[in-house]
């Protein structure tokens, strides 16, 4: 039966990939519009392709070095390290290295597919929306689903194949580490890229020169649109891929650590959940439709809820007919429900229909300082529902599972994380829709399409912003549960090597680890945001230079050099990744090898706590400031040009790197740190200074 489920998993992965390819070709067959629209789309597509090429080149170099290190380290029988005689098993090292490279490759392929269709769908969605809102929506959403389906398909194929060949979840951990390394580079790099371009384009375009958003006279306008794709399509896709795989692997490791006759059955149960999630997403995507006068946001929300309900029904049938203990059902459902609730409570703090955004907009009339204080305070408050949700999911799934006497409590936590992410196919589809319609609006503007087209594209864009906020809440919370499971997995791997791990706050080593871990997410946030300001400063100089060198640009008689800004943004993003990447991969190892496994356990705990809090704060405060500004622009509190609007613009600019650079990268950071710790736990268990 185990083999059958693995084969079903691989088949479902290929069905998902096949559906993604079919949708891709459907999108490509849509009308790409006028020559001008195609030209604008080509600038964006070329810029995105050039960035991806450079990103993947860097990744290939990083992956080669890390694969080499992994191959060497895991070629030793680590249980014997320090005993005087050590067996050498190169095949294990090579397997781990191959799994690592395969993980990075699968994530890269999913990201590449998502990006490729996104830069084709943007112009087609703009053209389709000139016909009807529904047509534009369909093109954008189906294009987004290519990313969602490709991502879950590649992940399930990769994990199932590796487990089928090796039968060892620790090897799947290598796959997960590969995916996470790419995710970290893609998410942080994409986040730095997109905000560098966005802030520079706005500060010179709107503030200095006074030209509107998406105006083709702005030399940074193409880089800004490229940024939407590299940050929000490739970056967010890689991020969810990473959480999706990591949560599954963590649960598999915890399942494998359980004793009993059903160990294998529960080891692959997370993969079975992923398989059901693929089918639920494939069906759910078909039900996302906008009626004649319907709302795109409601259609996306309906799709998410419908997919979750369908998935829950499938799991109930599976557990009741498959001989699983009921506790895995409750753990899955509590994870799924918590994910949905957290996602939608995020909307409370970031939607202009509720008090936090309206209040922040209202007080903006008194100046930018109070806008910042109010938005920041609501951002801090916004962590409450998510943290409470995580606490409930953790405790309920732990105690229900522990009481079952069949599965362990920590395995239940792992399963609830998988339950939360199993419908990622649908979640990512709705999320990737956002940057596509954002680009569609930009292209409509730059190509001089009719204002009605732009107004309809605005409606689509607005729904995309809400979907994006929900996904962020979902992904951060899922990452929190995932790293809790990985934390348990880390302890399990250490204890499997005969060491007792004691993470007590009475131990100075653990306290040292907790403090160092707690320090890491804020430092990571600072580094990525400083990269944005540094990059934006350089690009501002370039935009000014172009305006000065060719007055025809502002007169509209000559074209700016878009490529120069695209290139600057890419250079800035990629060169800024060195220190953050070290923090994620090198720092936990340094702590582990110097201070020992207990300190590393404390380190992970500290990093998880501040990482989750910072991620929620930054994502929600940034989204709140953005929507407070947009709320004022609808005509509230004086509208455009008022003192409230000026303060709102400042709040939005401050929030930009919060919500699109540092915030969403933090969940990847804590996942990577947890994975690298779990992966190298056997080595750390054998070698540590204290």
């Amino acid at each position: 039966m185990t083999q059958t489920w693995l084969i079903v998993g691989i088949v479902s992965g290929f069905i998902s990939l096949g559906a993604a390819l079919a949708i891709y070709f459907w999108v490509v067959r849509q009308d790409p519009g006028s020559e001008r629209a195609r030209q604008v789309a080509k600038w964006i597509s070329d810029g995105a392709a050039s960035y991806l090429k450079r990103l993947y080149t860097v990744l290939a170099m990083v992956a080669t070095v890390l694969a080499f290190v992994i191959a060497i380290v895991f070629s030793f029988n680590l249980t014997q390290l320090g005993s005087g005689s050590v067996d050498i098993a190169p095949s294990h090292g090579i397997t781990m290295a191959v799994a690592f490279v395969f993980g990075a490759l699968c994530s890269a392929i999913a990201g590449y597919m998502g990006m490729t269709v996104a830069v084709k769908a943007n112009v087609r969605s703009a053209v389709a929306v000139s016909d009807t809102l529904n047509k534009g929506f369909r093109v954008a959403f189906y294009a987004g689903s290519v990313m969602g389906l490709a991502m879950v398909g590649m992940a399930v194929i990769g994990m199932s194949i590796i487990f089928m060949i090796t039968g060892n979840p620790e090897t799947v951990l290598g796959f997960s580490f590969g995916a996470s390394t790419l995710a970290l580079l893609a998410k942080a790099g994409g986040g730095i890229y997109t905000k560098t371009a966005d802030i520079a384009a706005d500060l010179v375009g709107k503030v200095e020169v006074g030209i509107p958003e998406d105006d083709p006279r702005n030399p940074a306008v193409v880089a800004d649109n490229v940024g939407d794709n590299v940050g929000d399509v490739a970056g967010m896709g890689a991020d969810i891929f990473d959480s999706y795989v990591a949560s599954t692997v963590a649960a598999m490791l915890l399942g494998a650590a359980m004793a009993g006759p059903d160990t294998l059955k529960y080891t692959i149960f997370p993969l079975v959940l992923c398989t059901l999630g693929i089918f639920a997403s494939l069906i759910g995507i078909q039900f996302v439709r906008v009626g004649k006068n319907g709302k795109p946001g409601a259609a996306l929300n309906f799709g998410t809820i419908f997919t979750c309900v369908l998935f829950a029904a499938m799991v109930i049938v599976l557990v009741l007919t498959g001989g699983y203990d009921m506790s895995v059902l409750w753990s899955t459902l509590i994870g799924l429900t918590t994910g949905v609730v957290i996602g939608f409570t995020t909307e409370f703090f970031t939607s202009d229909e509720y008090k936090p955004v309206q209040e922040t907009a209202r007080v903006s009339g008194s100046g930018a300082a109070i806008t910042i204080i109010t938005g920041f305070s609501y951002g801090l408050l916004s962590i409450v529902p998510s943290i409470v949700g995580i606490v409930i999911a953790t405790l309920v799934s732990y105690f229900i599972s522990d009481a079952s006497g069949v599965i362990s409590g920590v395995y239940g936590i792992g399963i609830s994380a998988v339950g939360m992410l199993a419908v990622s196919g649908m979640i990512v589809s709705a999320d990737a829709y956002g940057p596509i319609v954002d680009n569609a609006r930009g292209i409509a503007e730059m190509a001089g399409m009719d204002h009605e087209v732009i107004e309809r594209a605005d409606v689509l864009d607005s729904a995309g912003n809400t979907a994006k906020a929900i996904t962020k809440g979902f992904s951060i919370s899922a990452a929190a549960l995932t790293v809790l499971a990985l934390f348990a997995a880390y302890a399990t791997v250490i204890e499997a090597r005969g060491l007792t791990i004691n993470i007590s706050l009475r131990s100075p080593m653990v306290i040292a680890g907790v403090l160092l871990g707690a320090m890491t997410p804020p430092v990571f946030s600072a580094l990525t945001m400083l990269s944005v300001t540094k990059g934006a400063f350089g690009m501002i100089e370039e935009i000014r230079r172009q305006f000065k060198a060719d007055p025809g640009i502002l007169a509209g008689t000559s074209l700016p050099d878009y490529n120069r800004c695209v290139s600057l943004a890419a250079d800035g993003a990629l060169t800024s990744l060195i220190l953050p990447a070290f923090l994620a991969v090198g720092f936990p190892l340094l702590v582990g090898f110097v201070l020992g496994p207990d300190a590393l356990g404390g380190f992970l705990g500290g990093a998880i706590f501040t990482g989750v809090i910072f991620a929620l704060l930054m994502a929600n405060a940034g989204g709140l400031w953005d929507n407070a500004k947009k709320f004022i622009e609808t005509g509230a509190f004086g509208g455009v040009g008022s003192e409230a609007h000026k303060a709102g613009v400042i709040g939005d600019t401050v929030g930009d790197p919060f919500k699109d650079t540092a915030g969403p990268s933090l969940n990847t950071l804590i996942t990577v740190m947890s994975l690298v710790s779990s992966l190298f736990a056997p080595v750390i268990a054998a070698f540590h200074l204290f």
Binding site: K206, E208, V209, G210, I211, P212, G365, H451, F547, K548, P551, I553, L554, A555, T634, G635, A636, F637, G638, G639, V640, G641, S642, E643, H645
Partner: protein, 254 residues
């Protein structure tokens, strides 16, 4: 190349230029080096207009192309007390240029807008620039400033715009501010309330309003008049601006 005569209101100046109104607007707003930005409001003057107050011929003679053949952008003929010396029949079209150089052309209207009930807010554009509230409609306000022989405050000519007050026109104390972007709204409210409670017909709200004139706040159009007559240039309704002049409207509503 044709030489145009423009009456600029910000600042008040008579200018000869070889640029068309759209080109002149873009040049005037962002400069030849495109290093500056700023709103521009100007009228095109009858090219045959001549006056002993201005050395127009001399200005036109100096308005010749540059050595590389590019048109001469501007020759300032006069920069002081210009408006009062331009007869209304020499004024042709009005051009409203946004801060990034998009220009909208307005024709003179055949009739003045109807005076509606409620209070009014005027932004004087030239020759002085205060923000004023009044119980008078535009025509009465113009007559009060330009034609009232008993008034202590009297101008030989004036150009002004009536700005939107929306609900404040009837209920200055309690009405919602909505999308009106005016600074120091509480002061504006108290000035409007004073018109109800005190024996005054006009009250100055702001001596030096900052930030130009947000075009989206213009209620109905721009007025220009002197002792001889008052001309009104109607601003099209928002829907028409969005439909026919989208680029200008988008830039004007930034």
């Amino acid at each position: 190349m044709t030489v145009h005569l423009y009456l600029s209101l910000i600042p008040e100046a008579l200018i000869a230029s070889m640029l068309s109104p759209e080109e002149f607007g873009a040049y005037y707003a962002v400069g030849s080096e495109k290093r500056s930005r700023g709103q521009a409001i100007f009228f095109e003057i009858d090219p045959k207009f001549r006056s002993k107050e201005f050395r127009i011929e001399e200005g036109i003679q100096r308005c010749i192309p540059h050595e590389d053949g590019t048109p001469k952008r501007s020759i300032y003929i006069s920069v002081y007390r210009v408006l009062e010396n331009i007869p209304m029949n020499a004024i042709k079209k009005l051009y409203l240029t946004t801060q990034d150089g998009r220009t909208l052309e307005l024709e003179p209207s055949k009739r003045l807008p109807l005076d509606d009930a409620g209070l009014h807010l005027y932004r004087e554009i030239s020759p002085v620039t205060p923000l004023v509230v009044s119980t008078d409609g535009p025509k009465a306000f113009y007559e009060l400033i330009v034609k009232n022989p008993t008034s202590l405050i009297k101008l030989p000519s004036i150009c002004f715009a009536e700005l939107r007050l929306d609900g404040l026109a009837k209920d200055p104390k309690n009405a919602e501010i909505g999308d009106l972007p005016y600074a120091n709204v509480e002061h504006l409210r108290s000035c409007l309330v004073d018109l109800h409670t005190k024996q005054v017909m006009t009250k100055m709200v702001d001596r030096i309003p900052s930030g130009g004139i947000p075009y989206r706040t213009i209620k109905n159009g721009i007025f220009i008049g002197n002792q001889e007559k008052l001309i009104f240039f109607a601003l099209p309704e928002e829907k028409k601006l969005v439909d026919k002049h989208y680029q200008w409207w988008r830039s004007a509503t930034m």
